[in-house]
Symmetry: C2
């Protein structure tokens, strides 16, 4: 029997074009998705996907179901927003601390979207830099932290957002451009341009330069465009998220190179106080982030189970309070479909 679960999976499959990626998006294993599709094919006595070599393609039948998913999942989300309004969970506050500076880029449109749907939620960005952003949650100064923190802490829940690659950004024609991959030592040759945050908050420094014992020169500026402008005018090099510089790369304003053989990756989490974790508008916010980011940001990956603070099963067991149909997986499970 067809269920919404299937439609959510098919939707992810449509967007990712791959069973394993779709599986990550819906927080299942590749095997689970494979079984789901098999079940659907047997139920309808029809092939849903077609394999052309490695890539999977949706058949006409598959496309029809994806179309159904598109229509339906939006309706479901909209109904659930209405339910939140009915239950008066529609008011509250969402004060956001952004640990990752570049994230402004994708967060802004999401905030605009959110404001439309939740006019009664006070939406704010908590400005300034903070050494321990999560403590702001405890102090009730902020309600949400978007950052890399994922260590389990009493009373705090970390929702995984996604993993992205940090690329070295160079001026076109820069000498280092001749290398396909940059190593720690390469960064000693030029000025490093960063946001004005403490060294330990800069992934390149913490994870690459310091471990390698390489020294560096640094120059800071507030805005991403300013960093890029400096790089392009050969004042130095930078390290920025791949999705943040996509446009500049396309116009060959700057060029990018991988850092280290496997690349330099960073994980993003959204942290909240435990008691806020089931707030409707918070869930909707999470859902929107997922939808928008996976649809629009290039080269990001879902955080797989291993990278998560808690696994689904542990979470179920850990929960002391009465189960109210809101296991961790449910909190996290998100309808992924294209925004209209």
């Amino acid at each position: 029997m067809l269920e919404l679960r299937h439609l959510r999976t098919l939707n992810a499959l449509d967007e990712t074009g791959s069973i394993s990626l779709a599986a990550q998006r819906v927080h299942l294993t590749q095997s689970a998705v494979s079984h789901q599709i098999k079940a659907l094919q047997e139920y309808y006595q029809l092939p849903i996907i077609q394999r052309s070599g490695h890539a999977v393609q949706l058949t006409d039948a598959g496309k029809r179901l994806v179309q159904l998913a598109g229509k339906i999942l939006g309706e479901v989300q909209s109904a659930e927003r209405d339910l939140a309004k009915i239950s008066r969970q529609a008011a509250g506050s969402l004060r956001i601390v952004l640990e990752c500076h570049t994230c402004f880029d994708w967060l802004m449109p999401i905030m605009d979207d959110f404001r439309q749907h939740w006019p009664e939620v006070e939406l704010d960005l908590v400005s300034g830099f903070h050494s321990d952003p999560v403590s702001l949650l405890r102090q009730q100064v902020a309600d949400v932290v978007i950052g890399s923190e994922n260590k389990p802490q009493q009373g705090i829940i970390h929702f995984p957002l996604f993993r992205f690659e940090i690329l070295a950004v160079l001026a076109p024609g820069h000498v280092l451009g001749s290398k396909r991959i940059l190593e720690a030592a390469d960064f000693a040759q030029d000025v490093l341009i960063t946001y004005p945050v403490p060294e330990e908050r800069i992934d390149l420094i913490r994870q690459v330069l310091m471990p390698a014992g390489v020294s560096w020169q640094r120059r800071t500026t507030e805005l991403t465009v300013a960093i890029l402008q400096l790089v392009a005018s050969r004042r130095g090099i930078a390290a920025l998220p791949g999705w943040g510089i996509k446009n500049y790369l396309d116009y060959e304003y700057v060029i990018a190179r991988r850092i280290g053989t496997n690349g330099l990756w960073s994980d993003l989490y959204l942290s909240v106080r435990e008691q806020d974790a089931s707030l409707r508008y918070l869930r909707d916010f999470l859902e929107t982030i997922d939808q928008v980011c996976f649809a629009r940001l290039d080269g990001i990956k879902p955080l797989s189970k291993k990278e998560r603070g808690k696994t689904k099963r542990e979470a179920g067991k850990t929960k002391g309070s009465k189960k109210i149909g809101q296991s961790f997986s449910e909190l996290r499970m998100i309808a992924r479909y294209k925004l209209l």
Copy 2:
């Protein structure tokens, strides 16, 4: 997590206004529906139903979900019809044998609806009377029998439709009208007006008069209206399904009385060859019958598990062929929502 299952149940709940009836409609126990609703309420942290005494009423939240169900379930059915077309299961034949004469009343509009959705299925009524209608399935003369047969037979599957009450129909002012309930003996006093079918096919005779050893006089005619006309003009009395005479009762053209303390009830099944049981258009036909009948026919009841030829669990075990995601329950499980 919300699933289509919940929406189907809520829809039934909306239409029946009762948990137990809704349960019958979706072929679950009352307990299961109760649990489902409880889970939903806990998931959304909202009451979905309100109890005013015995009757259950949907809250605003419940109504919003029903509204969602209305939008969504129609889309699902429509997508599934498209899938059938894609799989070329859209062509075939549906030759129907009607054992119950009065059933023309509700079947006609259903056939019209069906013809629209399945233009490539040859739709026919097999006319004439047949002592063993199910054998027509074996002889490939018909594809579907709608009747009271429900004894398990090799190669035949009986899908339960519904149970309805057969009422005695009298002219207004008829002497028997003074009784609230008619007994077998009462039928000896007047002419019995029936369709021209063998005695053993008339429930009143087989189940009431013959067991009681009462004799009767009979007069036959083809059409339901003709029977009613004869009754109204005091040429005799008749026994007809409650829903078949609703309009005539409303206009007081005739009156109706229960037969026996518990009433005379008849069960209707739809029988097909086993190999046809998973045909898409057949399922759709079944689905439509369910929707239309439960929405429009007065006083019918779903057939509960006990009345069914096979139970869900037995069926699963019995099936010899490889399970292909189409257990008996799935074959039977029907999205019930209002036709547009």
